[in-house]
Amino acid sequence: MAADPKAHALAQRKLEAAGKYLTFFLESEEYGIPILKVQQIIGVTSITVVPRTPHYVLGVINLRGKIIPVIDIRRKLDMSPVEPSEANCIIVVKSNNIEMGMYVDRVSEVLLVTPEDIEDTPFFGGQVSTEYLVGIAKTQGRVRLLLDIDKALSTSELMQMQATFGGGLDSD
């Protein structure tokens, strides 16, 4: 009985996490992001490097007249870089009302994830960062890592960086 609230919370989380996901590959790992957050998928266009931004910011692209930043999700997840390929693409997502591009190896499919499919992220200790995952989905015998897109693309680090660098101009 004592575990009841905890179990309830877990069930609640699973229920919330369930839904349709767009999955994509980073190397051999398959990740999923909620499809409702996805705006579109575009091929890789020329990316303009923006100086003095965090290493995981690849730069900015022209999305039909709008300028949006592109983030290398590999670097964000501390994965090693790979050679670019034809399959690379940019998933344009909207999180917290901010449009951003997410540079991925290749997109896979749209997947329906039921609450029963979801399991909690196991704990790996300090070496493996799991802070950007909401859970793991096991469907059709495959493992998909469900990404917390709001957290993964959070700009709080950017803001912090600006606070350190950019204090000078605000006072003008």
Binding site: P51, T53, I71, F165
Partner: protein
Amino acid sequence: MRDSKDACAFDDLIERLTEGDMTELEAKGGSTTESMTLDDIAALLVQLEPNDVEDLAAIRGRLDGLADDPSVGNPAIRKLLREAAKKIAVTIDAPIEEAAPALASACRLVTAASSIQRPSDHGPGLPAPNELSDREVAAVAAGPVVVPPPPPPPPEVEGVPPEKKKYSASVVLCPPDVDIAVVGEFVTECLDYIASAEGALLALENDPYDKESIDTVFRAFHTIKGVSAMLEMTAITHLAHQAESLLSPVRDGSAKFVAITANLSLRSVDMIKACMDKVQEILNGGAPACPDGYDDLLHELAHPEAAAKSGGNIQTPGEAPPPPQPSLLATPKPAAAPAPAPVAAAAPVASHAAAPPPPPGPVGGHPVQAAPPPRPVAAAPAAAAPAAAAADEPTETKKRPEQRKGESAVESSIRVRTDRLDRLIDLVGELVIAHSMVAQDDTLLHGANHDLVKKVTHTGKIVRELQDLSMSLRMVPLKSTFQNMQRVVRDVARKCGKLVDFVTDGEDTEIDRNMANLISDPLVHMVRNSVDHGIEVPEVREKNGKSRSGRVRLAAYHASGNVIVELSDDGGGLDRDRIFRRAIDKGLIDGNKVLSDNEVYNIIFEAGFSTKEAVTDVSGRGVGMDVVRRNIEALKGRIEITSQLGVGTTFLIYLPLTLAVTDGMLVRVGNERYIVPTVSINMSLRPEQRQLSTVSGRGEMLILRGSLIPIFRLHRLFEINHAVEDPTQGLVVIVNDGGQHCGLLVDELLGQRQVVAKTLGAGLGRVEGVSGGAILGDGRVGLILDPAGIVNLARHSGLL
């Protein structure tokens, strides 16, 4: 005549007097303070906000004066007035939440006093109370309604009750020199407000305690009052003011929203609508007259109790009946509408018959001749005003008929959300790029398909036209901005006791809508400064052999791809020595330095600088000009001063044509391309070795015409590989960063570009040294550099 400060303040008060019968007031003895009746004071109090300290102080002084004046016979009146003066004194010191009720009670006290006084004005009426106990006075101050029972009106002598004024005779529905475009906007806006007020009123009938609806209605009347007052449409101002006053106690919670309130409010709404129709009619050449029933409605609004008591709902023929109020409609009085203003009928005749043109200035035939009314046009009877305009400005009248021709003088427009507009402009820009990519495709350039080339060229034409049109969507003429300045000049001139002629030129010049809004504040500052600091008082001007009234000119024109706004005055000019001394006193500059005239003049843009000895509420605090420069620079513009002591000062504001398009120089550093805004570039050069020197081996400097300019290497700041390392092989772009110069080392210049500046997206926030991005001709994003940011960055990062 306007030398004492008090007189100025009161002049100001009288002009605010949209309430009360102006003609009557002026007839009593010109524009001096003595002519203010208690009614007028009460009306002023209603309109004043607790923070209008100066005006309140003036009123208080006047009330104290009256209270001590033995010629004011009735001690009860004096007592009430003294109490009111005390309340105002409280208002001045108290925090705002206490001030408002105090002001309201002061207002009630004065109203009460005036209602005691009034019957005696009309000869031997019923005896007014001569003594009032303190308790009674307190009750008046606290009470929601006028307490001393207004004695019944004296018996009517002629058909019209004595206090039933011919409101329509003393107000102007649409001044003749009004700007059609502005009125059009006003009408649209007004109808919006009216619609919401109407809805709210109907909701109030179901739920009389609905605070939100009351506020909506109140706000609608208040806004209409304000805007119409600005346009000098006193008829509407007057009406809206009365309607507002009617609702004021309901809003305070001191009165209930009853049937009569609803009825009158709705009729006011209808009347404003009728006025709007009339205004359009007038603009199309109709006769300037108030709509039927205007006088009756105003009369009822002014005396709602009476209307409620008699159940009298003077229904005007042709007027849309108010929403069902059966009990009120049951006993309609015959319409007692006085014949539309005899003055109005007489005036056009006068203007035709005016063989010897009336002297310029106040309207001929107007009751007030002795002293010029503060607002000649507004105060003049509606129809007499055109006569004045005809006499004063023949050119103006010639222009009018042309404007009035055509289907409808008021242009129809729709409101579009700006984000949609921006998106449209974005997409058109994108279309232009996409099209140029097609047009420059190899298959087209070298292909033999002549037909296809023709089709693409045709599309190109359409695209270009579309682009021009989309750019013009954001453009507005500077007219309304300039018109606001007119008011500023007038107000400041009166406050300072100066005579100023304000002239505008080129007000049809169009600039970006956003920019028109943003330029307004700096301009207000500058215009105030010109009048307050620049123009001398008439006596001084006369002594210096100038005309008594100064001249402030505001002009706008296009020159070399910029819009230039020029503000000039023929005042005292900038006193170089005085500025210099002041700046040394304030520690803004080093006294031993030799400065050019321009450098000295630019000191006035420093924060905290003011040569004015005394701080007034107009200017002199030393804030302002620094804000002005910063605002203008934020618009990617710049400001220049030329001045001659004793002759005048001219400010030139250079603004880009539009905020959306930035003129920039495309530069290359390594494999990256950046855009440097042209406004901040002074020059660029390839330095020779002998021009370069270093400080402690790192800080690089360029010696240019005797001055030392620090050089910052863009590739080091931005960590770009494969860039030119040797300054003698690259180019140094000299940029100015708020007065200081510095050089940026780049590889080469790629040429000038006009780009549409955009943000880098909220996800990235602000990036130091980069002000935004732009889509370049090849569809890629180019970053727009922010020179000031780069310098800041370089200084802080230690990478020199």
